[in-house]
Amino acid sequence: MTASRLPGRRGDGSAAVRGWVGLYTLGLPAPMRTRRRGEVAGDLADETMDAIRHGDRSGLFRQRMVRLPLGVPADLSWRLVDAPPVARRLYGRTPWVPLTRWTLALVGAVALISAGGLAIVTLPVLTGQARPDLWPGWGPVGFAIGSLLVLSGILASVFWPRLGAAFVVPGAVVGLLAAPWLWGGWLLAVIAGAARTYQAAVDADRPLPPGGAW
């Protein structure tokens, strides 16, 4: 048995943890990426050995399915806010501008709201349960297009802030025309897009944090 094979066993949840870590560390410089992946692989191996020692290997899957999702917000915050400045300081300036906690919160809220809105409007259409009498005219179509543009733009703004804003603003306008009663949501989308663009523009002057030993 090799060292790399030890922690994984079908159905114990380690593949899900390793898969998630592999996903969120994509795009980081190799030393940072391999360090985080290596640390979690070591943790999984120790967790497995601990479970074997206590004769509770069957509880591993459940334990990991609790530890994994509870740490996702911290993983995202580390990947999007903490790691990029360290990567930039240690491995040279990258074109990508990390999010601040505020822009991450805004972008996350708008992404969730727009995805939810899109799902609420399109799912009944796709499943044949839509009721045109509830919302007549082009409203649902405009709402869906607006939500889709806002969702695409806000996700794109994480990597390309200006391009993202170019999608968010027209999306919010279309959405506002289709569903003016949801003006607060469209305004929030524009604020999030603008905040991300502004933050990216002023980032060059931001002082860099101290780095760890990678």
Binding site: V40, E47, P210
Partner: protein, 120 residues
């Protein structure tokens, strides 16, 4: 809420406490899982800290100079047929931060003591 520069949050304090506990047991260095296990054993819930929360906190503590870390020797890990561990050791700065956190908590505990309980 913005935290004060140099201050530590609850989990970071737990990690430093766990490092000190393990040090007292003759383990000057500890890997992530052992720290999570020590924290879990000391809590009522006995639950392990989530992966993301733990490694983010370790990263922050290391960048703040409260911990230092190193990889385990590859030969040793290969012999044990498992991936290498990353070992963390509390620094003098970390010990100081922990003392300050304990001292800062003491008056809070006194203020929040239940009614009828006299704190001297």
């Amino acid at each position: 809420m913005r935290r004060k520069p140099g201050s530590i949050v609850s989990l970071e304090r737990d990690i430093l406490e766990a490092s000190m506990t393990l040090q007292a047991r003759g383990l000057p260095e500890a890997h992530g899982f052992l720290l999570a296990k020590t924290i879990g054993d000391g809590s009522d819930a006995k639950r392990l800290t989530a992966y993301g929360t733990l490694y983010k906190a370790l990263d922050r503590l290391e960048r703040a100079g409260h911990l230092e870390s190193r990889w385990e020797a590859p030969d040793y890990a290969a012999e044990a047929a498992r991936p290498r561990r990353r070992f963390y050791r509390i620094t003098a700065t970390g010990e100081r931060a922990l003392s300050e956190a304990r001292a800062a908590e003491a008056p809070t505990v006194a203020r929040t003591a239940p009614a009828g309980v006299r704190v001297t």
